[in-house]
């Protein structure tokens, strides 16, 4: 069993113009995307006038086997029509940078290990910081936040994507994931000041997202958000693969938190694929996810369908044991790294959660908040604590509290600043993201559009003679696959000729 599989993250950042709370967030988000593209230049980011190739997107197809009638869809679910008022770019690192609803979003390139997921996720933060620097030089000061709530009713997403074989029935996946996702937050929750969607009650909870989760399984992502999302857009060979689109998680700023978020989930998916998920079923998963989030003491037990009660740590230990039972003898380094962190964090949470400062986001945030409560005698309803919660996730290294803790060595890091800096420019080498990113950096003027599974060339710009290269296999188009060919061809025409004839 291994953590390695095709995966990636999506981050919708909170955006503000200080002193101007009425600023149009769609406009601000468009500024952020355009500023990165112009600041980085065409070899690092497709001009935002380029297209996103929507040909293969089906946001209304449901994994349970039916397609939603377009007329019934909420307008906010339609992401497959190219809107000229919003900005979109594809980056040389294989990522997509665009405006999603009212937030700038960075969708990471496909990677195959949780460690690389951390690396290209943090590269997204650097992309955003470079954009802010470009804007600041033009006199436009904006702030970006890597969080998921405004505390006043709005929530925005940090999503995870995992490639799984189509042969595994969706409801089997959902059943295996539900208890895990309800419990997972104690390892990887980001922490939040305020209880309830509008922070109507004072207090601290483990997860940013829990109070906004209102269904067990469903298609919607902007209303009635489910624990397990059924959106069925594989962005790959549909008869062979499923892309699980996970919306229940929080944005994590601790490297270990991101590593565990992706790594433990990949392992649990491995259990489900092997038919080895623990036979746990919760009586009421939606109630349970909130109850666990509202208990930073980690003592609360949730009811199972068979009447038993378990804590979140006990549920996770059951999954961990199942992983151990199916691990096999050949454990790769990526899997070992995730298991070591999982075991270390779980043991410390069980004995003294404060030992997890620097590794678990909510514990780290809570330590700072409790520090202020102790030193300054603050109650949970004090706006200073709410302000700290928001400022925690400010990307600005001078203002952001998590960023400052990382800079002063208080957060355990999995990747180095140099690795992150390189990932802003370079694509991961093991997936088709490598081909996508290389096309941006090598053929900037001739890439007309791209998507997860295609690159559309305009070999003679202005002639509207478009050629689409399809990439339905996420592991094809890697450096090992196509690096030699790319180095050997002279220009786009040459490349296309080789790809069409299959000479490589």
């Amino acid at each position: 069993m291994t953590v390695r599989r095709v995966m990636g993250t999506e981050t919708e950042y909170g955006v503000t113009r200080p002193g101007d709370p009425r600023a149009n967030p769609v406009h601000l988000s468009g500024q952020v995307v355009r500023a990165y593209a112009t600041g980085a230049g065409p070899a690092r980011a497709l001009p935002t006038g380029s297209g996103w190739d929507y040909a293969d997107e089906t946001p209304l197809r449901d994994a349970r086997g039916f397609e939603m009638a377009r007329a019934l869809a909420d307008i906010s679910q339609l992401t497959d029509t190219d809107d000229p008022t919003t900005a979109n770019s594809v980056l040389s690192n294989g990522a997509r940078l665009y405006v999603d609803h009212a937030h700038p979003e960075y969708s990471s390139p496909e990677v195959v290990s949780p460690r690389d997921a951390v690396r290209w996720d943090r590269a997204g933060d650097e992309v955003m910081l470079q954009s802010l620097a470009t804007l600041a030089a033009q006199g436009e000061v904006l702030r970006l936040y890597k969080n998921n709530v405004d505390g006043k009713g709005a929530s925005y997403g940090t999503h995870e994507n995992y490639l799984v074989p189509r042969a595994v029935p969706f409801l089997t996946i959902a059943a295996g994931l539900l208890p895990f996702f309800v419990a997972r937050q104690v390892l990887v929750g980001a922490g939040r000041v305020g209880l309830g969607q509008f922070s109507e009650r004072p207090g601290f909870q483990i997860s940013q997202r829990a109070d906004y989760i209102e269904a067990e399984i469903g298609l919607e992502t902007t209303l009635k958000r489910p624990i397990v999302n059924t959106r069925d857009e594989p962005h790959a060979l549909g008869e062979k693969y499923r892309r699980l689109h996970i919306i229940v998680g929080d944005a994590t700023l601790c490297d270990v938190g991101t590593l565990l978020r992706l790594g433990t989930t990949s392992l649990v998916l491995g259990l489900i694929e092997a038919g080895a998920a623990p036979p746990l079923e919760l009586a009421d998963p939606v109630a349970a996810i909130r109850e666990i989030s509202h208990d930073p003491g980690l003592r609360h037990t949730v009811e199972l369908a068979d009447g038993r009660r378990m804590t979140a740590l006990e549920i996770l230990a059951t999954y961990r044991q199942a992983v151990q039972d199916h691990l096999g003898d050949d454990v790769d380094a990526d899997t070992r790294e995730v298991l070591d962190h999982w075991d270390g964090v779980a043991a410390d949470l069980a004995t003294d959660p404060t030992r997890c400062v620097g590794r678990v986001d909510w514990v780290t945030k809570l330590a700072v908040l409790e520090g202020y409560r102790r030193r300054d005698g603050l109650e949970w309803g004090d706006p200073r604590l709410s302000a700290i919660d928001i400022q925690w996730s400010d990307l600005d290294p001078a203002r952001g509290l998590a960023a400052r803790m990382r800079a002063s060595g208080r957060l355990v890091t999995v990747v180095t600043p140099e690795e992150v800096a390189a990932a802003v420019v370079d694509p991961p080498v093991e997936t088709r993201a490598w081909f996508r990113g290389q096309c941006v950096s090598r053929y900037a003027g001739q890439v007309r559009a791209a998507s997860w599974d295609s690159v559309v060339f305009e070999p003679a710009p202005g002639r509207r003679d478009l050629r689409r290269v399809q990439l339905p296999e996420p592991l094809r188009g890697s450096r090992a696959d196509i690096g030699e060919l790319l180095d050997s061809v002279g220009d786009v025409d040459d490349l296309l000729a080789h790809l069409v004839t299959g000479e490589d």
């Binding site: 919708e12 520090g371 004090d382």
Partner: protein, 64 residues
């Protein structure tokens, strides 16, 4: 800082017959408290001065 130096011995007296590991655990806890206090001193200067207005002004549109 001086105030906290005084609090620690009191906390020890409040506990009855600590197990042998307790001093180690308390040293660790004190070290962590000191580290948090250092951090608070460091970030005091960058925190929003008008917390209420800052929180009030942080309004986002819902996303996915």
């Amino acid at each position: 800082m001086a105030g906290q130096e005084q609090k620690r011995p009191q906390r020890r007296e409040d506990e009855d017959t600590p197990p042998p590991e307790a001093p180690v655990a308390q040293t660790r806890e004190s070290a962590r408290t000191d580290d948090v206090d250092d951090l608070l001193d460091e970030i005091d200067g960058v925190l929003e001065t008008n917390a209420e207005e800052f929180v009030h002004g942080f309004v986002q549109k819902g996303g996915q």
